[in-house]
């Protein structure tokens, strides 16, 4: 059961301001999602290994070969604020 405090905490972790009204709204929606998935708990899964990937693939690698990087102006194209080739962002507290 997701509480009001849980929603606030999740909001804080993502640095998103969640209003009083939204908190109530999210609480209800998140709980309904959880409840829906909770139906899976009814299945007997004691003897089933957890699946983390739908495909049973192992060992996907690339060789250590240099590929071209993006030009600096393209990298910074979509940022609001930049300075001497860097991204400029507010201080994170």
């Amino acid at each position: 059961m997701i509480t009001k405090e849980d929603v606030e905490h999740i909001g804080w972790l993502a640095r998103i301001d969640v209003s009083e009204q939204e908190t109530a709204d999210f609480m209800e929606k998140l709980n309904s999602v959880l409840e829906y998935f909770g139906q899976l708990d009814e299945l007997p899964t004691e003897d089933v290994a957890p699946t983390y990937h739908v495909a049973e693939i192992y060992n996907v690698f690339r060789e250590d070969i240099v590929e071209e990087s993006l030009p600096q102006e393209v990298v910074l194209e979509n940022t609001e604020d930049k300075q001497n080739g860097t991204f400029k962002v507010p201080k994170i507290g």
């Binding site: 972790l13 993502a14 192992y58 060992n59 690698f61 060789e63 250590d64 590929e67």
Partner: protein
Amino acid sequence: MVYENPDGVRIGLEIHVQLNKLKTKMFCGCSSDYHDAAPNTHTCPICLGLPGALPVLNKKAVEAAIKIGLALEGEIAEETQFHRKNYFYPDLPKGFQITQYDFPIVSNGKVVIEGEDGEHVVGITRAHMEEDPGKLAHIGSIEKSKGVLIDYNRSGMPLIETVTEPDMRSPKEARRFLDKFRNILEYLDVFDGNLEGAMRVDANVSVHWGTRVEVKNISSHKGVERALLYEIMRQKNVIRRGGEVIQETRHFDEGRGVTLSMRTKEEAEDYRYFREPDLMPMHVIDWIPAIKETLPELPDAKRARFMEQYGITDMHARSLTSKIMLADFYESVCAKGVDPKLAATWTADVFLGELNYRDLAISSYDGKRIRFIHAKDPKIKNSFKVSDMVELVNLFAEGKISDRAAVEVIRTMLDTSEEKTPFQIIEEKDLFKAEDDLVTKAVAEAIAENGAAVQDYLGGMEKSLNFLVGQVMKKTQGTADAKTARELIVKKLNG
């Protein structure tokens, strides 16, 4: 003798090293050679964390991790995989760091160091792969920062994080551990410790077996000892005043040599680790035999061989093998038929001592020439040839130059970048050993001119002999052999 650890100090380390010998980053093909590059010129959608970008693991990074695991005598996991460590901070634009969590590639290793009371084993809890975050520069000081500038060139660099058991009992042991650890990585050729930011250390430290404090931001292996000495003193003072050490994270201010409380919000860490769905798990234990084949002779084995093969002391062997490049240099010198014991003295004691005195760090060795750069100012660099050392040691062995002259040659060669051989320097500076009659004459003069010192010596003051030897050296402009001069004086005075 057993070290009693009077303050009950326990130190554990977490060491991040960049696998900076790889050509590319951990999950993308961006070049790892970014150190002199303009900001944000070595990035792509993957290391910028743009939506939809798919990371693919660098095979060489896994091989390097296994190499390190084997060298640390650890276990390599049968199945290993990546997790997402979620946190909100602009050094990682994705909002999470790709790292390993409950299935690290390496666990249960060890490193044997020269401890306070002889050989001491430091346990390695685990070593895992992860990506380096980008680099932040605060505008103004970190406390009063008005904003942050971000360069993502470093973002996605392959890192190995190694966590030790709290087995170190003093700052000295912590430094020795780091020296050894760094040395092993350089032997494995996976790491260049001279590059800025190549190694970063966090330390856990407690006194009187009490609460541990984490000290972050120790950027140099030399800083570790200072940071820990300070922090141990601080904790002891807290206890002496009747206070209690609180569990917290402190930041090491390298400039001031102090640790400062970070005063962050007392929120419990909540990284919400979960498996990285974009990366497939790995089964790599069948790579082990092939990788084992590529493992070089490691420092301890090399040290034992040097003592056996060249008949040198443990101290010389230890010092020569403390850097793979120095060890190789020494072996090249010996291969030219130079007396290995003399070569060890001149390489380990004099040459290395003069390098350390000048803050010069060995940076490369190509089989002929060893190069070094200044630890703080990479613009200052110089080199020294195998053939120079061979010539110098041989001239000394043949009695053509005094030990003082040989030291002078090494100093001259380190302080100037002219391409001169030792022989040329000796000629220019007129350092060839004075003829015996010149020394005899200087001895006679020194005795005649310093009656008081002579009386003191004859009266039993051994120190006065040093003074007389000094006078002889002065008269011969340092070309006399100090040992010969001493013998001549003693002979003359004792009739």
